[in-house]
């Protein structure tokens, strides 16, 4: 006897590694029944660089320059996570001004990342004018990064024991002026993101994971917070976050729209944190000297735009480390992505994939 189950036709569709919505190569093997995804398997490794291995060959100071190149979007936060780990091993007391400057540059990274993502999301469902507007504003963030750190991609800014650059009064005024302009831009396009019918049609109820799923699958960052998990490592108070105060932004619907709302609200949160940090910037040195070599094991975690990044460092008292392990947020969100896809149409796969804000550079460290 022929049953419905035996006559159902399944199709294997490759999604990526090259795909119009993916800035970097990621491959998903999708199993479809008609147009509906029933299973998905990931494949990575197309641009794996072996940075963890290379970090065992460089000395611990050189690793700052290596590890911040894992990702061009959150480069400063990668170096911050590493530096904080080494500082804990060497019991270095970072000056308060450096801690506040670390918040400023971390939040500029977050603004840059969320705006880049929002533009890509708009592009993925054909909202080209929104894409252009968002990326125009992103340029203003990049200008601030260049004005304060010397380049549109912030490198060589964080250091073990503090930071390498200070901000003058003129630069602080420039940043505050720039933030005002960015906030005015938000007023022009964020209502469209939140209320536009076509945007909601593509995002509401799509790629849902529950709070329980998000927890069990180890989701992090906006993906977890959009499913009602109030977890944001900035709350732990690293750098100067403990003195600035913030509450995690959460939504509860667990769909692509909720992930969008979380990131949009975090844009405003970042503006607020930068303004607070610049207003309270203490008049202290920006770094302490580093003497000797690190020894021991440590786990250092910070909140990147995409969620928690973990650095495990093992040092033996020489200038090279025995092990540098980096677990990036996109790697942690892959199981959640695989749970979001089944039950959705093939046409929604690009939007759902983008909604976790995948960073393949981080994943392929």
């Amino acid at each position: 006897m022929t049953t419905a189950a035996t006559t159902t036709r399944r199709t294997l569709i490759p999604f990526g590694p090259q795909h119009p919505v993916l800035p970097e190569p990621l491959h998903l093997r999708l199993v479809l029944e008609d147009e509906i995804v029933v299973n998905a398997l990931p494949a990575v490794g197309y641009i794996h660089r072996g940075i963890e291995k290379l970090a065992e060959l460089k000395d611990f100071q050189q690793n700052v320059f290596l590890l911040e190149r894992i990702c061009g979007i959150c480069s400063f936060i990668h170096s911050l996570a590493y530096c904080q780990g080494i500082e804990e091993l060497m019991q270095l007391d970072v000056p308060p001004r450096a801690k506040y400057l670390r918040v400023v540059w971390s939040e500029l990274n977050r603004l840059h990342s969320h705006l880049l993502w929002l533009g890509l999301l708009a592009d993925s469902f054909g909202f080209e004018s929104l894409f252009m507007q968002v990326w125009k504003t992103r340029e203003k963030v990049l200008d601030l990064e260049e004005a304060t750190a010397g380049a549109r991609i912030m490198l060589s800014t964080c250091a073990i024991g503090g930071v390498r650059r200070d901000l003058s009064d003129e630069q602080i005024a420039q940043v505050l002026h720039g933030l005002d302009a960015i906030e005015r831009d938000f007023e022009s396009f964020i209502p469209a993101v939140i209320t536009d019918t076509t945007v909601k049609h593509r995002l509401v109820g799509v790629g849902v994971i529950t709070q329980q799923q998000a927890h069990e699958l180890g989701a992090v960052g906006p993906v977890a917070r959009a499913s009602g998990i109030a977890r944001d490592l900035r709350v732990t108070g690293y750098a100067a976050y403990g003195e600035l105060g913030l509450n995690p932004v959460i939504e509860t619907d667990g769909d692509c729209y909720a992930r969008t709302l979380v990131r949009v609200r975090e844009l405003h949160q970042s503006l607020l944190l930068i303004r607070k940090a610049l207003k309270r910037l203490p008049a202290t040195p920006i770094a302490v000297p580093v003497k000797g070599n690190p020894i021991g094991e440590v786990v250092s975690r910070v909140e990147q735009p995409r969620g928690e990044v973990l650095y495990y460092l093992k040092a033996n008292g020489t200038k090279t480390l025995e092990r540098v392990r980096v677990r990036t947020p996109t790697f942690a969100n892959i199981p959640a992505l695989l749970a979001m896809l089944p039950g959705n149409e093939l046409a929604d796969v690009p939007v759902i994939t983008l909604a976790i804000d995948p960073c393949v550079s981080c994943t392929e460290r």
Partner: protein, 130 residues
């Protein structure tokens, strides 16, 4: 420094992991460290902003029980460690057979350290025979 570290063995690993699941611990990731003579696998867990770790020390070539039957998200990182360190996991829910992130012509277990004599030679402490 690393706090809240519990040593486990191959025999006690699964019980220790299974005990954490109902307590609300989230699995962050696994870390493998090549200690030259053996391998250390660290299981990093998290609950209420606090970290907790299990440390498994095994000889190279030992088959390690997979925790993917308890924490399904572990399947990704266990496949990564299989590719990069040559670790073999028993009971891996989805086994890429060493091809999760490495191509067929990639080096085998590239994250393993070189043999001690080779490492010493590289550092100029010992001359290798040609």
């Amino acid at each position: 420094m690393l706090h809240n570290v519990t040593d486990v063995t191959v025999a006690t690993l699964l019980d220790a992991v299974a005990a954490r699941f109902p307590q609300g611990y989230r699995l962050i990731t696994l870390t493998c460290v090549d200690c030259v003579d053996n391998l250390e696998v660290l299981y990093h867990f998290y609950r209420n902003y606090e970290l907790s770790h299990l440390r498994l020390c095994v000889a190279k070539g030992t088959v390690v029980p997979s925790i993917s039957g308890i924490y399904s998200c572990a399947v990704i990182v266990e496949n990564e460690l299989k590719d990069l360190f040559g670790l073999t996991f028993d009971g891996l829910v989805l086994d890429y057979e060493g091809r999760f992130m490495l191509a067929a012509d990639a080096p085998v277990a590239p994250m393993l350290r070189t043999a001690p004599a080779q490492a010493a030679a590289r550092n100029g402490e010992l001359k290798m025979e040609p």
